[in-house]
């Protein structure tokens, strides 16, 4: 059922559309009528000071936080029309998420962390093993496949997280300060990978960052301030 509503109606050109999105936490307005469109394959950097509402916007886009008003559409499908179950399905099939603190599952190896996302969307075992091996090679971690997160460096963990976000071929990657916990060299390496992999897979990217250099991999930059979006 979800495939019908989400996949069949998916817009050919617009990956993400946010219209008049509003969200308050208690009496504090966090999103004050955001409008945003990201095209398929487009990479957009979202900047803004702390507390401007960036993370809330990401959470709303992936359906974890519901909007108070307005609409968010992924591939032409309005999130507000989807049930919790369909939202879960949308997240695991159409979105890839990269966190600042990597958030790998500590009890799974690098290989298993990547494979887990593929398993969640039901990719057959042989195919997913092939995909994981390919991605591990692509992020330069074939020799670290069996290592657990606590045995990996920060840069390695983020590369695993990147592979995990891409394995199920999502339409949109949401990256929340992916280089925030890394040194410059590792940060650059991750950014390069993010760019090249998103290009290879034709994935749209919404990159939240504080770092101006990170925005270089993006097609455009937008800024949030006090719950409003300023587009340059």
């Amino acid at each position: 059922m979800f495939d019908k509503t989400v996949t069949d109606n998916y817009h050919d050109k617009i990956a993400l559309q946010v219209r008049e999105a509003r969200k308050d936490f208690g009496k504090v307005p966090v999103l004050k009528g955001i409008n945003l469109e990201i095209q398929v394959g487009e990479r957009v950097a979202l900047m803004g000071p702390s507390g401007s509402g960036k993370s809330t916007l990401l959470n709303c886009i992936c359906g974890i936080e519901p909007l108070d008003s307005g609409e968010i559409s992924l591939g032409g499908n309005s999130l507000s029309n989807l049930s919790n179950h369909e939202l879960d399905k949308l997240r695991r099939e159409k979105i890839g998420y990269v966190f600042q603190s990597f958030h790998l599952l500590p009890t799974l190896s690098a290989f298993e962390n990547i494979e887990f996302s593929a398993q969640l969307v039901g990719i057959k075992k042989n195919q997913r093993l092939e995909l994981v091996s390919h991605l591990l090679e692509r992020v330069g971690l074939s020799n670290r496949a069996s290592h657990f997160p606590d045995a990996l460096s920060g840069g390695e963990r983020q590369r695993v997280a990147l592979a995990r976000a891409l394995i199920h071929k999502p339409r949109l990657i949401l990256a929340d300060e992916p280089t925030g916990s890394l040194d410059t060299a590792n940060g650059n390496q991750v950014l390069e990978l993010l760019k090249s992999l998103s290009e290879e897979h034709g994935v749209s990217l919404l990159l939240v960052t504080h770092d101006h250099t990170s925005t270089q991999i993006c097609d455009r930059v937008i800024t949030m301030k006090d719950g409003n979006l300023e587009i340059f």
């Binding site: 992936c62 695991r92 603190s101 790998l104 009890t107 799974l108 398993q119 969640l120």
Partner: protein, 862 residues
């Protein structure tokens, strides 16, 4: 020293700005926690009070009438012939004391349906003499409405006095004739008067009478039980020097076959008889405190997890580890203190609810008893609160230690820090505990005051092995999860299995707590099953007679009331009987404690009467010139006669020696029985009273028809066939284990509550993992499945490790603790069906615990 005030100030600051605020924010949660400790401490207090009230009536029943006595003159068999009283006459002439002869025994009232209804203790006193002792009596009971009527009851054959409570219980009024069974005869006792007893000192199951009346009712003409000595100068009762002088004077003129001792000795002897029983109950009830402590540990641990950021922030602000450690330890102590205080009330309620059940057990196993009013002594309060505090302290230790290991906020924020409990990850501790347990088995049993043995090494081994296996269970968890991992194909099960295989300290703690409960409960399963199996086998072999005869109505394996010998002679003259194995029993005094001397037909025991022989007759060589005896295993173990020897026993006719030539199994009592030839028994004890008889009928007579006929002919006797006897015995057996079952259930229930708390704590600590999974599209349903699998995995591991611990417990209980405590060899039965069922139950409960905790966690998060 300067640091101390600073520490207190900081502690107070921490308590006021954090701990108390957490208390206020979660009043219900902390209330529940205090309630759990209260139940744990209450169970211990309750069992202690109830077992004391249920078995405390070793005090002298007649004290309500004659007041406190100072010394007792007794015979080793607790029966004195009136002819011996003549020897005491010289004592009676001394103005410093008064002698009060007492006879006591049990009878049973009959209901309207003529079936036994209520067991009553009969006390016979020289009421006339007591009337002349107003200055020394502490009670002031009027035995006649008008003093000038006292002579009316002199010489009465069946007039008794009862208290107000007794009258209410019997629904009796003055002048009523109550049908009773006494010494195997159906009789009537007449209520002479209902005594005015404003202080309520007279128990409801007590009836008083003049000595000849009670002798008549009990068919024990010319016998009394003891003589009590009351000092004339009651103000000198506490003067030890004076008491010693009096004791020496009494002893100097006392006939040698009688024993003199302070009155307290009798209470102590009776207390010693039930010491092992009460000790076992106390140890069992400690389980309740143990699981209560486990819950405190889990709850405090959960609190540490929830407050991790707060602790890290405090650390960043410069609060050092020791202050944090003290703060968490004090929090545990505060909960323990509140719980222990509440446990006093809970204990009283539990005692009130369970005292009847325990009294029934004491009645069945030891001696006739009646329930005394429940009392709480300052020692009870001290022990209850002390244990609550000690266990809370121990329970608070690990979480407090864990709190101190929390790094400052900046390190915590990095997100790569994993919390402690390193103890649970170190197999050396578990292995060392098991080794200590093995070594402790070399310790000999500790001999208690009454001569019973406490298997000290066995108890230490039990504690060490259970704890050792609890420590090792985390390693089993990792192993089992590793084996299960290839079988897990769904994302939920894979995730659950990977988390279990990771073996976090919290997972290990949850398993360890369950292992303790499972180990103890499965150990109990085995002991009860082994006991039941052994007794059934013993019955098959030992009880092959056609019919069994005993006194009707009076219960208690230790009740040696007996049957009127003339009645027994009459019964044995019945033409249907081919042969009768008549048993006479009396108490006998070894050097310490008390034991039982039986008079039987030894020739019949050697060949006709079947026994389970530990050493068949003749396999031990009895000493020449010493009375040959067959002894029970408990007797042999208690007095170190497994390889034969000579044993001296004090009896009414003086000190006698017996020498065993065979050892038989007997599960009837733990004091031990020595069986000698019945003629010798009669001459040694001066009594002819049999206690029971096994009847072998002539072949031409049908058993049940003979039984029915004998029942009609002897309505005061219980005549049962083998099947009926077995049912009665198994009834007593089930009664014995009621308390054990109840405590096991409490233990299990609290352990499962601990599992729920443990899982909540685990999910709290995995907060970030769940958030990540949500972003990855892991649905709530998948989360619930995963949590349920995790719970089931913990249940499975607890079952496997707990069963190993349980097998070790079973072996210990059957082969060490039972043998040393009671002198009984049991056949070790492992109830495989119950084990498997228990496993399924544990996995199921684990699964649902996971599901419920995850749901609650999810609800709380929202």
């Amino acid at each position: 020293m300067k640091r101390l005030p600073t520490v207190f100030k900081l502690l107070w600051l921490l308590f006021s700005i954090t701990t108390f605020r957490h208390f206020r924010a979660k009043v219900g949660h902390y209330f529940l926690l205090v309630a759990i400790v209260a139940v744990g401490v209450g169970a211990f207090n309750g069992i202690r009070q109830a077992s004391r009230a249920a078995s405390a009536n070793f005090g002298l029943f007649n004290q309500a009438v004659s007041g406190r006595s100072d010394f007792l003159i007794e015979s080793p068999s607790q029966r004195i012939l009136e002819s011996s009283l003549l020897d005491l006459q010289i004592l009676n002439e001394d103005p410093d004391w008064h002698l009060v002869p007492v006879i006591e025994g049990s009878i049973t009232t009959l209901g309207e349906d003529k079936n036994p209804e209520k067991q009553i203790r009969l006390i016979g006193l020289d009421l006339l003499a007591l009337g002349n002792l107003p200055n020394v009596l502490e009670q002031n009971l009027e035995f006649a409405e008008k003093d000038d009527k006292w002579h009316e009851w002199l010489g009465s054959e069946r007039d008794v006095w009862i208290g107000r409570k007794g009258a209410e219980a019997l629904g009796a009024q003055v002048g009523d004739e109550i049908p009773i069974l006494a010494s195997g005869r159906r009789m009537k006792m007449k209520i002479r008067m209902i005594l005015d007893d404003p202080d309520g000192n007279l128990p409801e199951d007590l009836a008083l009478g003049d000595i000849p009346t009670i002798q008549n009712l009990l068919s024990r003409k010319g016998e009394i039980n003891r003589v009590e000595v009351i000092l004339d100068q009651i103000e000198k009762r506490e003067d030890l020097e004076y008491l010693k002088k009096i004791e020496n004077r009494l002893a100097a003129v006392l006939p040698k076959e009688l024993i003199l001792g302070p009155t307290e000795n009798r209470a102590a002897e009776r207390a010693a008889m039930t010491a092992a029983f009460r000790l076992n109950l106390s140890i069992l009830s400690l389980i309740a405190i143990l699981v209560g402590a486990y819950l405190i540990l889990q709850a405090l641990d959960a609190a540490v997890v929830r407050r991790r950021v707060e602790i890290a922030t405090l650390r960043s602000l410069g609060i050092d580890r020791s202050i944090l450690f003290l703060a968490y330890l004090l929090e545990a102590l505060l909960l323990g203190l509140l719980g222990s205080i509440a446990g006093i009330g809970v204990g009283y309620l539990l005692a009130f609810a369970s005292v009847g059940m325990l009294a029934d057990t004491v009645n069945a196993l030891y001696f006739s008893t009646s329930i005394e009013a429940l009392t709480i002594t300052s020692l009870d309060l001290g022990i209850g609160i002390g244990l609550g505090l000690v266990f809370s302290f121990l329970a608070g230790w690990l979480p407090a230690r864990d709190a101190t290991q929390t790094p400052p906020a900046q390190i915590l924020a990095r997100g790569d820090w994993s919390p402690g409990f390193s103890l649970l990850k170190n197999p050396k501790i578990g292995l060392s505990l098991i080794a200590v347990g093995i070594l402790s088995l070399l310790l000999p049993p500790f001999v208690m005051e009454g001569g019973s043995n406490m298997p000290l090494g066995g108890f230490i081994a039990a504690g060490c092995w259970i704890l050792g296996l609890a420590f090792l269970s985390g390693h089993f968890l990792v192993l089992i999860a590793g084996w299960m991992r290839p079988l897990c194909i769904t994302p939920s099960s894979r995730l659950a299995c990977s988390r279990l295989q990771d073996g976090s300290s919290r997972h290990r703690l949850a398993v360890a707590g369950l292992v303790v409960a499972v180990g103890m409960v499965t150990g109990m399963f085995q002991m009860i099953d082994s006991f039941r199996g052994t007794i059934q086998e013993w019955f098959e072999v030992r009880f092959q007679a056609d019919l069994y005869v005993s006194e009707r109505g009076v219960t208690g394996a230790g009740n040696l009331n007996g049957i009127d010998p003339e009645l027994m002679d009459e019964l044995l003259s019945d033409s249907t009987i081919r042969f009768a194995d008549v048993m006479h029993l009396c108490y006998a005094k070894p050097k310490t404690g008390i034991t039982i001397l039986a008079g039987v037909d030894l020739d019949a025991w050697n060949d006709r009467v079947q026994q389970i022989w530990l050493k068949p007759p003749g396999s031990l060589k009895s000493r020449e010139g010493v009375e040959p005896a067959l002894i029970s295993e408990a007797f042999a173990r208690r007095f170190d006669l497994l390889e034969g020897g000579v044993m001296e026993l004090d009896l009414p006719s003086g000190r006698k020696s017996i020498s065993p030539y065979g050892i038989f199994s007997d599960y009837g009592n733990e004091f031990g029985t020595a069986a000698i030839d019945s003629e010798t028994w009669k001459s040694w004890t001066g009594s002819r009273r049999p206690v029971n008889a096994s009847l072998y009928l002539k072949d031409e007579f049908e058993v049940n028809a003979a039984r029915d006929r004998l029942r009609v002919a002897f309505p005061g006797l219980d005549v049962r066939n083998g099947k009926e006897l077995r049912e009665v015995a198994l009834g007593i057996f089930e009664q014995t284990f009621k308390a054990t079952d109840a405590l096991s259930l409490i233990g299990l229930a609290v352990a499962f509550a601990g599992l729920l708390l443990g899982l909540l704590s685990i999910f709290d600590e995995s907060n970030r993992t769940w958030q990540t999974l949500r972003h990855l599209g892991f649905s709530t349903r998948q989360f619930l499945w995963s949590a349920s699998f995790e719970g089931a995995g913990i249940g499975l591991t607890a079952w496997v490790s707990g069963s190993i611990a349980g097998l070790a417990m079973g072996w210990l209980l059957v082969h060490v603790i039972n043998v040393q405590s009671f002198g009984w060899t049991l056949i070790w039965n492992i109830p495989i069906g119950e084990f498997l069922l228990f496993g399924i139950l544990l996995i199921g409960v684990g699964f649902f615990s996971g599901f419920i905790s995850a749901n609650y966690w999810n609800f709380r998060r929202k």
